[in-house]
């Protein structure tokens, strides 16, 4: 009996959810964008209301490919959007920010912190994101550029589903070093982790791109939302979180 009651409450809630009339935009965003996108939307002077669903970029692309009705998609790899655009699922993508891959390491019981140049010459416990997610792919491309990929694979102790996992392994599981996005390490949050920039030559071009979803019920508002990502106000917010210009 309790089951029935709970179910009817649930149905009532759903009904409420369906009837709210001025629909805010539904923005599908890469998880790494969660804070900036919310901040940009909140500071929007045009009164563009948005709801966000943050997940991995691949998941978002799958959702759009499966025809889910959203208004905007913003992901961490413009290449992912190409397929959607060629199928007509989205409009033209706009690149609105960039990111860098950085080497992060910490001093551990086994010795002082590991420098990128020492990879392969000292025993180390390395953590990377899985090659199936952009962070992992970028990290491997950069390591290959430095001719360190083989050494890295030999020292690899864990492959994580996302950059968060890499940081957690460093913080909690005794890993020595890893490669993460610069935006994952805002100044002062992880005092125990040291950051090292990669040589410009191997730094992958990591861009963030957004596009209007073709199935959007409010394409005009969705277009305004995408456009504002390139506004000076948005740029400032992005920069404060470690994102670079596109």
């Amino acid at each position: 009996m309790t089951g029935y009651r709970i179910f009817s409450v649930l149905l009532a809630l759903l009904a409420l959810g369906c009837t709210s009339s001025p629909r805010p935009l539904l923005v599908l965003g890469a998880a790494s964008l969660s804070e900036v996108l919310r901040e940009i939307a909140e500071s929007s002077p045009g009164g563009l209301e948005a709801r966000f669903s943050f997940a991995g970029s691949q998941t978002l692309v799958t959702q759009i490919r499966r025809g889910l009705r959203a208004d905007v998609i913003a992901v961490a790899d413009p290449a992912l959007l190409e397929g959607l655009r060629s199928r007509g699922r989205i409009g033209d993508p706009l690149r609105f920010a960039s990111n860098r891959i950085v080497w992060v390491s910490r001093a551990t019981a086994s010795g002082p912190r590991l420098r990128l140049s020492e990879l392969g010459s000292r025993p180390a416990r390395l953590v990377l994101a899985s090659p199936d997610v952009p962070a992992g792919a970028y990290a491997r491309a950069a390591l290959a550029g430095l001719d360190l990929l083989e050494a890295a694979e030999a020292d690899l102790v864990s492959q994580e589903l996302d950059v968060r996992g890499v940081i957690s392994k460093l913080q909690l599981a005794g890993a020595d070093a890893g490669l993460v996005y610069a935006t994952d390490l805002p100044p002062g949050r992880y005092p125990e982790l040291a950051v090292e920039r990669l040589p410009e030559a191997v730094q992958p071009r990591i861009a963030y791109a957004a596009a209007v979803v073709s199935l959007s019920r409010s394409p005009a508002d969705a277009g305004r939302f995408v456009a504002q990502l390139a506004s000076p106000r948005a740029r400032a917010i992005l920069a404060s979180r470690g994102f670079g210009p596109p």
């Binding site: 089951g3 029935y4 709970i6 179910f7 409450v9 649930l10 809630l13 759903l14 959810g17 369906c18 539904l26 599908l28 998880a31 790494s32 969660s34 804070e35 709801r51 966000f52 669903s53 943050f54 997940a55 998941t59 799958t62 959702q63 499966r66 025809g67 889910l68 009705r69 959203a70 968060r164 940081i167 957690s168």
Partner: protein, 250 residues
Amino acid sequence: MRVLVTAAAALGAVLLIVPLLGLVAESPWSELPELWADGVAPRALGLSILVSVAAVTLSLGIGAPLAWLLARNRFRGRGLLRSLVTLPMVLPPVVAGVALLAALGPTGPLGRALAGLGVELPFTTAAAVLAASFVSAPLLITALEGGLNQLDRRYEQVAAALGASRAQTLLRVVLPLLRPALLGGRARCWARALGEFGATIAFAGNLRGVTQTAPLAIYELLQTRPDQAFLLGALLLAGAFGIFVAARPR
């Protein structure tokens, strides 16, 4: 022998319990007011309870007849059906979510039928319930089928011989005798639904107040406020523990 068993049991308990205690101990409890104040955590926890309870209810509704069919009928393809309905248990949850998208998304066969009725599931609480049910119902089904297989049909025959109708037999004999299996299956189903993440984020999205259950909120918080993410994890754990203790069969 005894010593070995005791030692192994102790090791097992340590392995299972210490990480939980660690989570509770490491959590920055001083940030609790802040976490609570912005409304994300309480909404996510509330939604988690709503979604998991609804998922258990739905799992019972669809799982009990399936368990009955599997336990009580010999038909061609029964083994296959059993394997198929328990398969979501072994599927990585994200894959389960994509499978749900494929079937119930707007382009899927069931999704198109639903769209014809004016129903769009993705990004609704109903989708979150469905995702949680998809991965947790098999636990209930296997528990109930096991219980039914253990249950000697003689009890039902005795009830019939004593004058009980089929409905009376079901309510006054079968269900009470299935109680242990039902409670055990329900607890496992509920726990699985409460912890559900992958299928939900893929199929239902990650919308605050609509589909953002506690595990999804933890995922989002991890991007920016990892301490609070741990804290929310600890809260989820504490809530689940409380409900387990309260709902423990006596």
